[in-house]
Symmetry: C2
Subunit: 212 residues, 2 copies
């Protein structure tokens, strides 16, 4: 491995280890030496990559934000109605929270008391994405009569934050089956009856753990 590759690999190990320790112990309790030990690198190597715990947390948040942005880009560029792309995006976010400790740590760091660094605000980015997709559905006339994009977004955002929180203790909350049941409940209220039949509450490329 050339030097640059090795450095990138060490950085990746540190991010993964930091995410695991932040999730298990919380940001405030997590120590840099626990993180370097878990990554199997020296304290010196850790300090070479990240001078402070806050910089390490920001890197974890940035990494989680990159995943969130990939989900957002997919939701923008995929074919199909805005409602279907929103359903698929919630499935992908929940799968990422389930499978990737860096994503989970990123969301938890954003909510941690006593910490507001310069990193991205993941919940706010997710909320903006939900609002945009529902505004598009509203413009196209896909929302049910009397339902506004703002109210629909409130219901979807609060629920997905709840899934994320409850899922951090019990992963069944972020299972695809649970997310599908949520959409089966909510969708008939959000969608115009004429488009309801075209929508699927599942996302074909997301598989995961058993439901709640």
């Amino acid at each position: 491995m050339v030097k640059q590759e090795r450095a990138a690999r060490t950085r990746q190990l540190l991010l993964q280890a930091a995410a695991e320790v932040f999730v298990r112990e919380g940001y405030a309790r997590a120590s840099l030496s626990t993180i370097s030990a878990r990554a199997g690198v020296s304290n010196g190597a850790l300090h070479f990559h990240f001078e402070t715990k806050n910089l390490l947390a920001e890197a974890v948040e940035e990494c989680a934000a990159a995943t969130l942005r990939r989900i957002a880009v997919a939701a923008n560029e995929a074919p199909g109605s805005a409602l279907q792309r929103l359903i698929d995006a919630t499935h992908r976010l929940m799968a990422a929270l389930h499978q990737d400790v860096v994503v989970r740590a990123g969301f938890e760091l954003c909510a941690a008391a006593g910490r507001r660094g310069g990193g991205p605000d993941l919940r706010r980015e997710w909320q903006d994405r939900v609002v945009k997709l529902l505004a598009e559905a509203e413009r196209k006339g896909d929302l049910a009569e009397g339902v506004t994009a703002a109210d629909a977004a409130m219901a979807v955002v609060t629920s997905t934050v709840g899934f994320e929180m409850l899922g951090s203790r019990d992963r069944a909350w972020v299972a695809p089956e649970t997310v599908a049941r949520f959409w089966e409940l909510l969708l008939p209220r959000l969608s115009r009856p004429e488009v309801l039949g075209e929508l699927s509450t599942r996302c074909a490329d997301v598989v995961g753990p058993p439901p709640v």
Copy 2:
């Protein structure tokens, strides 16, 4: 003030100060000396009431649990349908989260990473309450066709946890107006059409901050 009254008053000051410091700095960062200073009592007095930070956190959680149980008892004993009592209970819980830092701290402590003391699990208690009220609504035939108590409870629990989380950063999320809009969206999907007209999405005795 007699001695016993003074001790109870000091204990109350300490609980309030601890809740404020836990919310502001997080459990792991909070120091007992910051808490005693905020309460305006000596470190000795703090240690007389609470030997460890964990015992203090458990006392905050117990105090929040007592408020939650009062809301639950009101939801059990009030007249009216189970759905209306559930709506009112969500309004009362959100108002408590908004107005009472001890309730807010209690919920946040339950979710804090690296901490699982012997205190009550407030989110679990709330979830059980929601499930029971919706099971009652189901038995009475008040739920819409094809909607189960379990699925309705999932939607209500995830959303209320989301409101709680988002409300800890921006109180407008737990405003009565926001909660009423949530029910206006969800209720037509949960309730049998024949009982919908009898239900109010507001709770007369709850007032609060402006909406989102």
